[in-house]
């Protein structure tokens, strides 16, 4: 291979390091020689060349066949009466056809370029970072001319009105984000206030504990030893999705368990937060808020499936393993005159993960 002609020779002569270069070296690579050119099998063996050519056009024709197959599959495997298997076959066979069609084009093209097209090596030197003085002058001139011809600098009214339009176009975005901030009113003093909303759930004194999702209230006598109930406030089941059902449920979900009374070790001041071994804890993990509901009825461990935090229900849901920072909040419960389990109050601390203003 001969490289006697350097296409950038004239640039090289006037080359100066640009001011942005930390270290100016005259020519970092001296004579980067190429390894000797190696003949391919297709270059030396005409039979191999014939084979490669055959492979490439076979692949392209295969692609044609696969495209036709995809169209045929659309007719052979129609989606009928919503049968799952027909949808599956339809997707599968059309997809296989299209995939094979595209893949064969790609493989054929690559094989063509590698085995058949010329593979002579050549050097393409990088040009200098700084443009030539003539080029720079030409571009200054182009800008000045554009300014002159458009009147951008001269027609101040148009220019300023464009600036005004650009600034105004950002305002709708600001308005939308403003909607995330507190928007309290006399009727709803805590609307959108994250600190208040994260501090309070739907539970209040006298809310009945009910089955999730049916909303059927639970009697204390229903909760046999070793059971676990997935619980929502009775009022929650009456909410529509438009009324914040999911938002409220995300905070109010509770797991209700019954342990042997002698295995419970309530913290001081919490002795009357349960009823005859029945205790209720928030199901929202204090780490990042996954539902903690993998309850082991013999060890009384609760496991969070997301990051393996473990809580010991017999000791106030203290953290015994994993990344959670705090025990699960306990919902104080009692039994009303009809025998239903009711909340004594809301949670005494915010449920779920930490947030900036949590004290």
């Amino acid at each position: 291979m001969a490289h006697e002609e350097d296409p950038l020779e004239h640039e090289r002569a006037s080359w100066k390091p640009s001011p942005g270069l930390a270290v100016a070296v005259p020519d970092p690579v001296q004579n980067a020689a190429l390894p000797p050119h190696r003949e391919r099998e297709t270059d030396t063996d005409p039979a191999a060349m014939t084979r490669a050519v055959r492979t490439v056009y076979t692949l392209f024709y295969l692609s044609v066949a696969a495209s036709i197959w995809a169209v045929a599959a659309y007719m052979i495997f129609p989606i009928e009466n919503g049968e799952i298997t027909s949808i599956r076959h339809n997707n599968l066979f059309i997809g296989l056809g299209i995939a094979l069609a595209l893949l064969a084009i790609g493989i054929g093209a690559i094989h063509w370029s590698k085995a058949i097209m010329s593979d002579k090596e050549f050097i393409e030197p990088r040009h200098a970072t700084r443009g030539r003085d003539s080029t720079r002058e030409a571009s200054y001139k182009a800008f000045a001319e554009a300014n002159e011809e458009s009147g951008f600098g001269r027609r101040v009214m148009i220019r300023n009105s464009l600036f005004a339009a650009l600034v105004a176009s950002i305002i709708p975005g600001i308005t939308l984000f403003r909607g995330l901030a507190p928007h309290d009113s006399a009727a709803d003093p805590h609307a959108g206030d994250p600190v208040y909303l994260l501090n309070h759930t739907m539970w209040k004194k006298g809310s009945r504990l009910a089955h999730d999702p049916s909303g059927v209230p639970i009697k204390a006598s229903d909760v046999t030893l070793g059971s676990a109930f997935h619980v929502i406030p009775e009022d929650l089941a009456k909410l529509d999705h438009g009324q914040g059902y999911l938002e409220e449920k995300a905070k109010a979900i509770v797991l209700l368990m019954r342990l042997p009374v002698d295995e419970l070790h309530p913290a001081p001041g919490r002795e009357d937060w349960g009823f005859d071994g029945i205790v209720a804890y928030s199901k929202v993990c204090t780490h990042v808020g996954c539902p903690v509901a993998l309850y082991e009825q013999q060890t009384h461990h609760l496991l969070c499936p997301c990051h393996q935090s473990q809580f010991d229900v017999s000791h106030n849901a203290r953290v015994i393993f994993g990344p959670a920072a705090r025990p699960l909040p306990q919902l104080p419960i009692e039994v009303d005159s009809e025998g239903y389990i009711v909340a004594k109050s809301d949670f005494h601390e915010p449920v779920g993960p930490s947030f900036w203003e949590r004290h």
Binding site: T85, M257, Q298, T299
Partner: protein
């Protein structure tokens, strides 16, 4: 022949050699595994049909269970008392091979069943006679003709966190696990809910009533009998299995293609 020699001389293998070698290796591994698992499956216990009485059950219990559970079901240091467990507990533990326990561990694993159905029924009858508890359900609860959609919803709320939404099972703490439900019989699903074996909470009829249990069983039977709608289920383990699959096979094949594109042609 001349070409063969030329290949040898240039030290070049056929490009298909590696593919063939990998294929042979995979076939051999698969063949040995299939042979081994068939051998394990064929060791089946022979059944003898005889009507057994509660007395026979008592003898069987004393011979096989009393070492750990006590002669009077009172329990020992090695095993819990069986007061109040009832016949369904015996059915679940023995007929799934969990009992008799081979050794103490975090959880009793399923093993080949050690007793015939008659023997299990006899032991269950004996335990029920001295320590009454949950009993066999009527066939209607197990018929799998409940509401599959309702069953799925109840399952998702109450069971899926441990057993996985598709009943594929999952890990618990310290070596314990919720077993997969893809081969569990309707009777044993019911028994597990009612008796709360090992660390599973109890779901009594006051928590999930008979109709709801029937729906759950119908949902699980539906999963067992129908192929997965989404193609390869990959164990129904969700993002972990799917991510691992795409990581290894997707990125692996991308790397392979990249290497092929940039490699020099021979």
């Amino acid at each position: 022949m001349a070409r063969e020699n030329k290949r040898r001389a240039s030290g070049r293998r056929s490009p298909l050699a590696a593919v063939v070698l990998i294929g042979v290796g995979l076939l051999m591994t698969g063949g040995i595994y299939a042979g081994a698992s068939a051998a394990v499956a064929s060791t089946d216990t022979s059944t003898t049909k005889t009507a057994l009485t509660v007395d026979d059950g008592k003898k069987l219990f004393q011979a096989n269970c009393a070492t750990c559970h006590g002669m009077d079901l009172q329990g020992t240091a090695n095993g819990p008392s069986l007061f109040g467990v009832g016949e369904l507990s015996v059915e679940f533990q023995v007929a799934t091979g969990r009992m008799p326990l081979a050794m103490q561990g975090p959880q009793a694993p399923q093993k080949p069943v050690q007793f015939t159905e008659d023997q299990i029924r006899a032991m269950a009858a004996y335990v029920q006679s001295v320590s009454p508890g949950p009993t066999y359900p009527d066939q209607q609860t197990l018929d799998g003709k409940g509401d599959v959609a309702t069953g799925a919803e109840i399952f998702r709320t109450n069971c899926a966190m441990c057993h996985n939404v598709a009943g594929a099972g999952g890990a618990l703490t310290e070596g314990k696990y919720a077993p997969a439900l893809d081969k569990t019989s309707a009777l044993h699903m019911y028994a597990a809910m009612v008796t709360g074996p090992q660390n599973m909470p109890v779901f009594s009829d006051l928590n999930l009533n008979l109709e709801q249990k029937r729906d759950i069983i119908s949902y699980l039977l539906y999963l067992q009998q129908h192929e997965s709608a989404g193609g390869f289920a990959l164990g129904s383990l969700g993002p972990v299995a799917e991510g691992l699959f795409i990581w290894i096979f997707g990125i692996g094949s991308l790397i392979g293609v990249t290497v092929w594109i940039t490699a020099k042609s021979n």
